[in-house]
Symmetry: C2
Subunit: 343 residues, 2 copies
């Protein structure tokens, strides 16, 4: 059943039926109710294709599958995606995924999505410190929102967490507890969030006039294996030189630290303090850690939900100011942190 048939049944014009269904004010409530009832009765569903053609909007948001793949990156992306899809579903939007194939550059993927007008807006995830995508999308006149921030001359919409503040707070907690040799195991250094965390971390040390020596700063893939290797190296030094505390960018890294500590005969929360960032991935909560982990936490899925919400709002009112949100991050103290052992 299509609109024409439905309006024939009702003895109304297509215009009126369309407006009644879409909540336009110039239709009397009585008529609207009648139309709604008939639509329901006959199981009328407007054709998405026809609406797309008529409105020029596709009701679809696009997301590009990250090129590189790693274990935790995939988990984070999936959880973020889950949030996006969940909220999009509530708002009757679709999410479509794109991906570079063959020798295509990522740029061409964005160009293609835009040219084909298959999406109304795009979501940019995992921004690098220097990321071309905002400039590209702006040039292509494709609305977008970034999950995170990046260096960009021009303004753009984003939702980010306060990575700098979170890692400042984490490191400050440790310095307040008397730790003086604190290691940072961070995400890959070209990713913007890692740079922000690094900055926050350093500021907290600087506030106490503590050094941040290179050999206590590590960055790389945020998985257990890597954390284990990095922490093992750091903990292999003599007692007076090795770190008494670790701040990690992921719980995966924290697991590695824990294993490295165990191998060195050290216990987390007793000999070594540990704080990690917790993205609230299912099955990887800081509270499930042994011992329960002091953590900066912020649900990555929620960011996905919010970004979709903002994309839709942006499409409804393109003249509104660009959304720019920085979410505060909770620092939850649990059992993995303790006062620094006397040297």
């Amino acid at each position: 059943m299509n609109l024409r048939e439905l309006s024939a049944v009702l003895g109304l014009s297509q215009t009126t039926v369309s407006r009644a269904l879409n909540g336009f004010p110039e239709v009397s409530e009585e008529t609207r109710a009648r139309v709604r009832a008939a639509a329901e009765l006959h199981g009328y569903r407007p054709s998405a294709a026809a609406r797309r053609l008529a409105t020029g909007q596709s009701g679809t948001l696009g997301l590009v599958f990250p090129g590189e793949r790693n274990f935790l990156g995939d988990l984070l992306f999936t959880e973020f995606l889950r949030g996006c899809v969940g909220k999009a579903s509530e708002l009757s939007y679709d999410i479509t995924l794109a991906m570079a194939h063959g020798s295509q550059t990522e740029e061409s993927v964005y160009r293609r999505a835009v040219r084909n007008a298959r999406v109304d807006a795009m979501i940019v995830s995992s921004p690098l410190i220097e990321d071309q995508r905002p400039a590209l999308l702006r040039q292509l006149k494709m609305p977008f929102i970034v999950h995170g921030r990046t260096r960009s001359a021009e303004p753009y919409g984003f939702v980010d967490i306060d990575n700098e503040g979170a890692f400042f707070a984490a490191a400050k907690l440790l310095t307040d507890l008397g730790h003086r040799r604190i290691a940072l195991l961070n995400g890959e250094s070209r990713l913007n969030f890692a740079a922000d965390r690094d900055r926050g971390f350093r500021k907290a040390l600087a506030a106490r006039s503590l050094p941040a020596p290179d050999d206590l700063l590590w960055s790389g893939a945020m998985v257990e294996q890597e954390g284990l290797a990095a922490a093992t190296a750091m903990l292999s030094r003599p007692a007076g030189k090795r770190p008494t505390a670790f701040v990690c960018s992921s719980i995966g890294l924290a697991l590695g630290v824990k294993r490295a500590a165990a191998a060195a005969g050290l216990a987390i929360g007793r000999d070594v303090a540990l704080i990690a960032h917790d993205d609230r991935l299912h099955g990887m909560g800081a509270e499930d850690f042994d011992p329960p982990l002091t953590a900066t936490q912020s649900p990555i899925g929620e960011a996905g939900r919010r970004i979709v919400e903002l994309c839709v709002a942006m499409l409804r009112d393109p003249s509104a100011p660009l959304p720019q949100e920085v979410w505060p991050v909770d620092l939850v103290v649990r059992q993995s942190t303790m006062a620094a052992p006397g040297d």
Copy 2:
């Protein structure tokens, strides 16, 4: 630039231009070349929306985000999805994701996707032993392909790996090596693949007249933590009663077994034999295990690619027989298996 403008520029009708571009035979090669050149020159891109409306096809395949979330499940889904999106991209198809929200049942998600005619076909992942979805989709007249199999009275298209054969081969290898107490750590029992693996495993034991006692058969979430707990319990028995070999449905479980063995002072490949199924997840290859793991392996991403290919083929020729593929699974022997220790 749209079709009308392009044909005006060329001095041809829209019909001819459309056909030239879409490869219809009744257009001379000379004209086709001219049209192609002009389209390229003016950067003409057909409107997806208009094409959808005219053809009734959306050029989109649908996939429903699995409701339950677990660590490895997410990784497998993501890798599968990556394969789907990659191939879809090559074929100029879109993949859109749907998800139940609020109190919606999963069924209603499928119904909604179908009613709104937003997808041409759906991909059904992670089928249960008793899965309603094939029947539902058939009833809704929505083409679909299942990744895996399920019990269903009616025929349906699928791509699956030979889980039964793989686990038969794995268990047989172990019995051939003289193992008599072999444990199986499997995926959740309501999932069809787990049932298939269980069957293959049991057949191999039965072929040697070996028992398959319940206390050596475990199933649950396929993550390290769970594997550790299950294997620890099994290995805590006296030497003559504990298993000398394990077959695991995932490398995550195998990691758990390894840790349990280590805790019991046993080494994989020396005291305990270990075989796992390897879905070829990036960063979790059996060859990266220590020791390199004997494994049944089959890339889950390839299955995604193939399914998309088959979906598209099915849409192009709906009268073709339903694709039903069962892929053989390689058993690659590495260093984690050895002859059974003498009791």
